[in-house]
């Protein structure tokens, strides 16, 4: 910014004078702005004084690259820790801090945001009390010598064969015995989230995409995108269709993706769906298979709620369709787990069931990053092999689910809140659009906030599930007892009244 450049400009006489002074000034201004900004945002509280000392040395490398540690971390780490929690996670946190209890904490938060089934845990607990001793930790049954070697040492990372056999039997039982599963087509993982993640790694490259009908389970954003870098393209479903999936919507989404240069590698469907709770008809499953074949993509079918049907409709597994008809099986992969149907999310049991040998081979190797604890596998083998208990459990659980669903939905109806018809899952999909002040995401989140912090009810807003329409909320009823329903209704009533006034 000395005289040299402007002089040059005068000599050349082409507006060089102006450019000659303006450009260096501009550069200097931006450099100052950049430095100011970086000094103002130290991500670590360490040694602020030393960075001041270094300031005079304008070309120091330490100045130009921020000293704070986030610069040293991966972009995944910085984005996941900086990103604000979606209401799905935020609501859960609040509920965990102040959980409702009818006696000890009657003003606590009623958590209708976590799809956990507490309705039939007593049955499982009873079984554990009666049979648990012998099934635990490799005990040779009935006071026999405890041998830890069988459970302590390295076992196949993708699960014990005997556990796969037991799981295959359970899956068949839970789906009405209309389909059978082959244990050698299974890879077990520590939870269904890991199963979805492994399939993302196997079936798509970073930057490719899966089509996912929306609204969808908020956890998919993490399971699919976080580490494998696969994108999700939501396929819009609307209330006018009861949020049912249509092939034309899939097709439209596929074409739009293509235009944007995104390569679609597969479709992820949940059946029964989450958050709506609807089940796919046999015809729709056929159409999906045709669609996948036509576009040469994969189908991942998340059937984790298959054993939690409370409606009258018959559940048809993708496995059953493939058994009965002649489709290209290499592109079909089913995900299952014990977190929902058997209410054991703490034990971390997920299943990848695939018809594709290559996928199975790779998934098996990836299972080492997410193996199920062997003592847990042994424990569950005993439980799942008790066919009489399992059959009783499935039957009773369905009855209880149905009752709770019916009671809860009709109670909401009395408040003027309509729910979409659903046949499975632990939740109902409620239309509270009449209660939101402005028909927008903002309006919906305002209601969510009121429900959470004033009414002390945690529900999941539709925007967290990527629903294109506003005002819809997922309300789980399986953590409630009969007595809790009036409490929930009363609290929602209060919120409705404040809106009306």
């Amino acid at each position: 910014m000395r005289v040299i450049v402007p002089l040059q400009g005068v000599v050349q006489g082409r507006g060089g004078l102006v450019l000659g002074s303006v450009i260096p000034c501009a550069l200097f201004y931006f450099l100052r702005l950049y430095l100011k900004r970086n000094r103002a945002s130290p991500a670590s509280p360490s040694s602020p004084s030393s960075s001041d000392l270094l300031l005079p040395r304008t070309h120091s490398r330490t100045l130009l690259s921020p000293r704070a540690s986030p610069a040293l971390l991966s972009s995944r780490a910085t984005s996941i820790s900086k990103a604000p929690d979606s209401p799905y996670y935020a609501g859960r946190k609040t509920a965990l801090r102040d959980p409702y209890h009818p006696l000890s904490n009657p003003h606590g938060v009623l958590d209708l945001g976590l799809a956990q089934n507490k309705l039939s845990l007593d049955l499982i607990e009873e079984w554990v009390v009666e049979n648990g001793r012998d099934s635990i930790v490799g005990g040779g049954g009935g006071g026999g010598e405890l041998s830890i070697e069988g459970i302590a040492t390295y076992q196949p990372f993708d699960g014990l064969l005997s556990f796969k056999v037991a799981l295959a039997g359970f899956m068949s039982e839970v789906m009405g015995r209309s389909v059978s599963f082959n244990p050698s087509q299974m890879v077990l993982t520590a939870g269904a989230s890991a199963a979805i993640e492994i399939l993302s790694f196997c079936l798509a490259d970073s930057g490719n995409a899966f089509l996912v009908p929306s609204p969808y389970y908020p956890g998919f954003d993490r399971d699919i995108k976080l580490r494998s870098g696969v994108e999700i393209i939501p396929v819009t479903c609307r209330s006018t269709d009861n949020f049912n999936l249509s092939i034309s919507a899939l097709d439209q989404a596929f074409n739009q993706a293509k235009k944007k240069g995104l390569k679609v590698r597969g479709v992820l469907i949940s059946n029964p769906s989450n958050p709506v709770g609807s089940i796919l008809s046999r015809d729709m499953l056929y159409s999906l298979l045709d669609f996948a074949q036509e576009k040469n993509i994969h189908i991942i079918c998340d059937e984790i709620f298959a054993g939690s049907i409370h409606g009258d409709e018959e559940f048809v597994s993708m496995g059953e369709v493939l058994d009965s008809a002649d489709f290209d099986r290499d592109r079909v992969h089913i995900v299952y787990g014990l977190s929902k149907d058997l209410s054991l999310p703490g034990f971390r049991v997920g299943v990848i069931y695939s018809f594709n040998e290559n996928v199975l081979a790779v998934a098996k190797k990836m299972a080492r990053f997410t193996s199920i604890s062997v003592p847990t596998q042994h424990f569950l083998i005993s439980m799942l092999s008790d066919t009489k208990f399992i059959q009783e459990y499935i039957k009773t659980n369905k009855v209880r689910l149905r009752k709770m669903y019916t009671d809860f939905v009709s109670a909401l109806k009395k408040l003027g809140i309509r729910c979409t018809k659903s046949s499975g899952g632990f939740y109902c999909w409620a239309d509270m659009s009449g209660l939101i002040r402005s028909y927008s995401e903002k309006g919906e989140l305002e209601l969510f906030d009121k429900l959470l912090n004033v009414a002390k009810i945690n529900v999941t807003p539709g925007s967290a599930c990527h629903c294109i329409e506003f005002g819809w909320f997922r309300c789980c009823f399986t953590t409630l007892t009969e007595k809790d329903i009036p409490v929930v209704i009363e609290r929602i009533q209060k919120v409705i009244e404040t809106y009306k006034s």
Partner: protein, 474 residues
């Protein structure tokens, strides 16, 4: 197979290396004292089976722990529903206490900085996901655990650049080796994000010296990168001298560095109960970091590999029993030392030396003098002979990226003492017969068959047959 992803079809899972090949051969013809006494003895698996009896007796005396009970009351429901990725607090508290005990109580760990994962494999991969983007690199001293090629590189798409270490100074990491590796990475246009050490080392069994740790800390500070210390074998150090095993946590503490200092935040520790407690089947791993962002990101990523709540509870009971853990640590170390002494003297008897070490479930054996030439081809040839003829599965140095051919990792804690003795006998016989073979070749001079050489060859063949076992070979 364009239908699947690149990761699915590439080879970076490293599963085709000899490390895994030996395993496969073993599975086909596994040694059993009674049913298959001439089978292959597994000496390539770093598993600790020496102290199962201690664990069994604890569990027999504490049935509540495995029975989902706390003070006689059933807590099954609580455990069945527990899926919080922050981990069971009582387990984390017990685990950090145990980690501290193993380090002679010279350092303490904060449970809120610990992230639980299903096994160390998951912990190391998760940590890399948090520290590096695809295409970036980590420096690792050679030789290193073959599994790192898969765990650190495969799904993360991160590169490993080896830091060459040599037997001339017992494979200790030097400043020049570090700088050389850094430059090599730079030449390959790779951005180095950190150094990964395993302390105690796998496959060497040695513990890092204080100078080494100081050197590494200075290096990472200077280059503005991370240091990952995989301390999965920290409880297996068996040298009676108390300060032989030094954790990097201790060195940081001795520098009077606050946990919030820049350097402390760049040091991350990996741990697991698979080696120290001999419970690999339980799938218990952990990563420890002073960097909040790393802990927060890793915690969320741990959703993909949480430890079963049943296991967390069981182990929280066991590890909070300080009387038991103290006794276990001491007894386990005694037994490891005993095994180490047996194998070292057995090998010495066969004229084979080992790298002096004081930890781990294996020793690093020097078989350079048995190679037909100083090449990795010769090492592979020797490895195959040992696998197929001597019927021992050991791990060749090449699988561990060792720069010098002729070194092998031999495990000693995953079998009974009798089996170990048998293995040592087989090695001795092999070495003896090789020597005799050499002598015979030397005596006969030219390649012409003389009747005397035929006789000695026959004698050698007969001797070999009789020493290989009681059953005819399959």
């Amino acid at each position: 197979m364009k239908f699947l992803s690149r990761k699915a079809t590439c080879n970076s899972h490293g599963q085709d290396s000899s490390y895994f090949l030996g395993w496969q051969e073993y599975e086909k013809n596994a040694y059993d004292e009674i049913t298959n006494p001439s089978g292959i003895i597994q000496m390539g698996l770093a598993e600790n089976q020496l102290s199962f009896d201690l664990l069994e007796s604890w569990m027999a005396n504490n049935p509540d722990a495995a029975g989902f009970k706390r003070n006689g009351q059933s807590i099954f429901r609580e455990l069945a529903l527990f899926q919080d990725y922050h981990g069971l607090p009582e387990f984390k508290n017990a685990l950090v206490q145990f980690m501290s005990q193993i380090r002679g109580n010279k350092v303490t760990f904060d449970p809120s900085k610990l992230v639980l994962t299903a096994g160390a494999t998951s912990a190391s991969e998760t940590l890399i996901f948090c520290l590096a983007n695809p295409g970036e690199a980590f420096l690792l001293p050679t030789p290193y655990y073959p599994g790192f090629d898969r765990d650190l590189k495969w799904r993360t798409e991160v590169e490993i650049v080896p830091i060459h270490c040599s037997s001339s100074n017992n494979f200790i990491v030097t400043k020049s080796a570090l700088e050389d590796a850094y430059q090599r990475a730079h030449k390959r246009n790779l951005k180095v994000k950190g150094v990964v050490i395993t302390n105690p080392s796998n496959p060497l069994g040695t513990t890092s010296t204080r100078q080494e740790l100081d050197l590494l800390l200075d290096f990472v500070q200077d280059k503005n990168i991370h240091l990952i210390s995989d301390e999965i074998y920290s409880g297996t150090h068996f040298n009676s001298s108390p300060n032989k095993f030094i954790s990097v946590a201790q060195v940081l503490k001795d520098r009077n560095l606050d946990d919030n200092s820049e350097l402390s935040k760049r040091v991350h520790i990996l741990y697991s109960l698979s080696k120290d407690l001999g419970l690999p089947g339980f799938r218990v791993g952990a990563l420890y970091s002073n960097d909040d962002t790393v802990v927060s990101a890793a915690t969320k990523m741990s959703s993909f590999g949480l430890i079963s709540s049943q296991t967390q509870y069981l182990l929280s009971c066991m590890l909070s029993d300080q009387k038991f853990t103290t006794h276990y640590i001491v007894e386990n170390q005694k037994r490891l030392k005993n095994r180490y002494d047996i194998i070292v003297s057995g090998l010495r008897n066969a004229g084979i030396g080992v790298l002096p070490s004081d930890a781990g479930l294996f020793c690093y054996v020097d078989m350079r003098h048995l190679l037909s030439s100083n090449t990795f081809e010769a090492e592979m040839e020797l490895w195959k002979k040992i696998l197929y003829q001597v019927k021992l599965n050991i791990s060749p140095g090449a699988a561990c990226h060792c720069t010098e051919p002729g070194w092998f990792r031999v495990c000693f804690a995953n079998m009974s003492e009798d089996t170990l003795s048998l293995a040592l006998q087989r090695i001795k016989d092999f070495v003896d017969s090789t020597k005799r073979g050499d002598e015979t070749r030397g005596a006969s001079g030219s390649s012409r068959y003389s009747s005397r050489s035929v006789m000695s060859l026959t004698k050698k063949w007969v001797l070999r047959l009789s020493s290989n076992g009681h059953e005819p070979e399959r």
